[in-house]
Symmetry: C2
Subunit: 313 residues, 2 copies
């Protein structure tokens, strides 16, 4: 293994021309320089200097090594300065997963908020139902956006995980334009809703369970004519007049035109959390991503407020 200090010495020697001058320039004795250059020669097993009684100059091999040394030293210097320059500024790869609605809802605002941090590279991936927390635990992801319909504050697994509440996302009614309920003047009556044609998520999905519960409170059930997977599919079918649906308000960030939303009295609300390992909270890149996430949430809330009217309680 070559020694950088000796390469530096070779470089300085090439600049000064004599061992004595090199030593003087670096604050060493000539003897030290001579010994170190000899050691360098032993290391590369080649004669680097042509030594006479009163002078020493580079051989061809010395010049060859010098060329490489200059490149290497320049690269080392570059590495040092790069590291010094962005000491403290966040940087690195952040892997984030999110349930589908959140992924599409926050992605644009997130990208915008992170644009000022050039060194931070974000990978955003959709998760299937409920695997987000596991992914954070196993370090498959650094951050995961998860939703919770129970309203209980999640346990943070003995301090390993940390949960940040991002927003509360109520179920709202989606109706096609021109529908009777699209008129804001018409009150939303839960009991009457049961008579409508519904487009719903399959049984077992949290949002389906939530609307079933709500209507069960008034002793009804959605006229579940159509069951489809995927909020996007459901919304587009509603827009085409197939029926009405109950969807989380977040879905309206990417709603097709021709859709009207109505607030549902007493509607269930889901809590949207960011899950992070406690150990990675200190990482500047994670920290920056989390604040960017909160910014993105504010952006989304502002858009939803303007569209749906009135912040979700």
């Amino acid at each position: 293994m070559l020694d950088l200090r000796r390469l530096q010495l070779l470089y300085e020697f090439a600049g000064h021309g004599t061992i004595a001058a090199t030593a003087a320039a670096l604050g060493y004795t000539p003897s030290a320089v001579s010994q170190q250059l000899s050691a360098l020669e032993r290391e590369v097993d080649a004669q680097l200097l042509d030594r006479t009684a009163r002078s020493a100059e580079l051989t061809d091999a010395g010049r060859l090594l010098l060329e490489h040394a200059e490149q290497i030293l320049a690269m080392v210097e570059a590495a040092e300065s790069v590291l010094a320059a962005q000491n403290g500024t966040p940087r690195g790869l952040v892997t984030m997963t999110a349930f589908p609605t959140a992924a599409v809802a926050f992605a644009p605002a997130l990208a915008h908020s992170l644009r000022s941090h050039e060194g931070v590279q974000l990978v955003l991936r959709q998760t299937t139902e409920g695997s987000g927390t596991r992914q954070v635990r196993t370090a498959e992801a650094d951050i995961s956006l998860v939703d919770d319909w129970t309203g209980r504050t999640p346990d943070s697994a003995a301090g390993i995980l940390r949960h940040y509440l991002l927003l509360r996302d109520p179920l709202v009614l989606a109706v096609p334009q021109g529908h009777r309920l699209a008129d804001p003047a018409v009150p939303v009556d839960l009991a009457a809703l049961c008579e409508e044609s519904w487009v719903t998520a399959p049984l077992g999905e949290p949002s389906r369970t939530a609307i079933d519960r709500l209507l069960a409170d008034v002793d009804g059930a959605p006229g579940a004519a159509w069951e489809f997977e995927g909020i996007g599919t459901i919304m587009s079918l509603v827009a085409r007049g197939l029926g009405i649906a109950a969807v989380p308000s977040l879905s309206f960030t990417s709603a097709a035109p021709g859709l009207v939303h109505r607030r549902l009295p007493g509607a269930p609300v889901r809590d949207v959390y960011a899950v992070v390992r406690a150990s990675s909270v200190r990482r500047p890149a994670i920290d920056v991503t989390l604040t960017a996430l909160r910014e993105a949430v504010r952006d989304v809330e502002r858009v939803l407020d303007a569209e749906i009217g009135g912040a979700p309680s």
Copy 2:
């Protein structure tokens, strides 16, 4: 100044994932690795590892430094292997100067002989009258080809310089095709030559002095109708029938067609030397160039022999 061994340690750590495994792989104790990585952190003044009680992993800064370290280490390795690979094989820049005739005469054969030494880069430059030796002394050139009409062996300046006799180059007669003297059967009579029309170099040039001396021996002088500078010019004028000329035989390596040569009885001969600093003889690149030069001389002699017939005495 960063330390390469520590960068290597960082690199190995990144590959093994744990300090203990890194230590085991390199034959160190875990303590040593831990201490050295800590030292590296102090050097760059940044936290490179996220250390917990039972694990340690790279931070973003660590990964950043790792990227640079990989490049640097690769470059160092390349430098080492390059130096090792051509240890002993000649290499480097060789600067050679030569009086004009020799430069054009030897250049092609030299280029051919040096083709097998990829690392040797030759710069060949023409010199003006008599400056070759000075250029070698002052290290403006490594080798210089000089000519000497005196026949004395040159002094080597107290061992600093070294002279190698390359060839003896006689003055020959150049006549145009169709000229009376172009017939080999016609004997060359010095006294009769004085009646010819001559193309000569200007007074003071060694070749001019030489022919003047030769003809003075028979109480004559060239009918110097035309004086021109440059052997090439003179030869081409002779080829066009302007007159005859006496030129060193070397000039015929690049003679225009339509020229015939005749040997001059008792013609002066110049000695062509290669001058080198004694200190640089040991340089492999110089050594290789000198042997290539001798090869080139043999090539040129062979060509001249075939053309002029009979080696110059």
